[in-house]
Symmetry: C2
Subunit: 202 residues, 2 copies
């Protein structure tokens, strides 16, 4: 194996949580995971710690975020990504504009997996446009939770998802910062509300 045991453990545990193989609320024990993954406790320990930072695990248990938790996380995400969209509207390279448009296109015609990836890219391109690696880092730390949501909206075909992306793209293209920020915030709010209804029903 070329990868470090720590990374292997981190990815395996994260994926198992996100896929639902490890159910919400379940307590994780280092020993069990270690033998399952064929590594020792040390790297598992570090992996768990990292997942705790990311908010996927809390007190050794897989989190079961409440509605309030999700609203709180999305509020922060809105502030940051809203600001990033504003930056993008102020300036975005030709090349990134093209990639952004490509994401919209795939969003309309791609397979589910392609749409998942395009959705991720769309937001990442905008975040990176802020040229603020620290901000990107903070958002990166919400990634696991964001992934859960992205899965919900894509797999359940949230209405207007791609239309909203296109509108945001237009605002960025036309250099309308206020517009872009407002649209991004609305977009994320719509994601949140859709997911909340869904998670409650499921």
């Amino acid at each position: 194996m070329s990868q470090s045991a720590y990374l292997t453990a981190y990815e395996a545990i994260r994926d198992q949580i996100l896929n639902g193989e490890i159910p919400r609320g379940q307590k994780l024990t280092e020993d069990k995971l270690a033998s399952e993954l064929g590594v020792s406790r040390t790297p598992v320990r570090e992996a768990i710690r990292k997942l705790e930072e990311e908010g996927l695990i809390k007190k050794k248990k897989v989190v079961n975020p409440s509605e309030t938790d999700l609203r709180n996380i999305f509020h922060v995400r809105s502030l940051l990504e809203g600001d990033a969209a504003r930056s993008a509207a102020e300036y975005l390279s030709e090349e990134k504009l093209i990639r952004l448009k490509e994401c919209v296109k795939i969003g309309r015609n791609g397979t589910v997996d392609e749409i998942m990836a395009a959705n991720k890219d769309f937001h990442e391109i905008i975040v990176q446009s802020s040229n603020n690696p620290f901000m990107a880092d903070v958002i990166e730390r919400m990634n696991s939770i964001i992934y859960l949501f992205r899965k919900t909206v894509v797999y359940h075909n949230r209405p207007f998802l791609i239309d909203e992306h296109e509108k945001i793209y237009d605002a960025i293209l036309k250099h309308q910062p206020d517009q872009a920020e407002e649209l991004m915030k609305k977009h994320l709010r719509a994601d949140l509300e859709f997911c909340l209804r869904f998670i409650r029903v499921e």
Copy 2:
């Protein structure tokens, strides 16, 4: 010793960095720290990892943040604390308003240490008013860097520091959310610019 070795190590290393006992840019080695602190490498390892998350250490070296880094961090802080100030202006309990005012008062009459503490409290009360523990968490993770700055502005008597606090307090008291947000952002920008000039000169 009642505290865990991990916490002991974390606090000791953090304090040594913030006090300048461990200079910027210095490489940290687990072994050396472990024997200095009288614990084994394991808890030191975990402490370093946590400090890396907080941004005080990067790639085992004590960070020497560039001007750009500091601007980036403060940009994020502004977005979040600006929003928190807005929340506070919408509603803040009687008790917290009193504590906020007290912070302003100490800012004018207290000793340096008291001012340091009051300054910290002032911002913390406002952040907590947002009722968003997740946001508080994100800000908490910037704490070490923020502490460095607070030290600079307080110890070097930045002009208008307390005046700005008072204006923010007034806006919150009078329920002026836009005002409060704008003033908070200006306040943080002023902190940043003051510190940048200082750090370059020093």
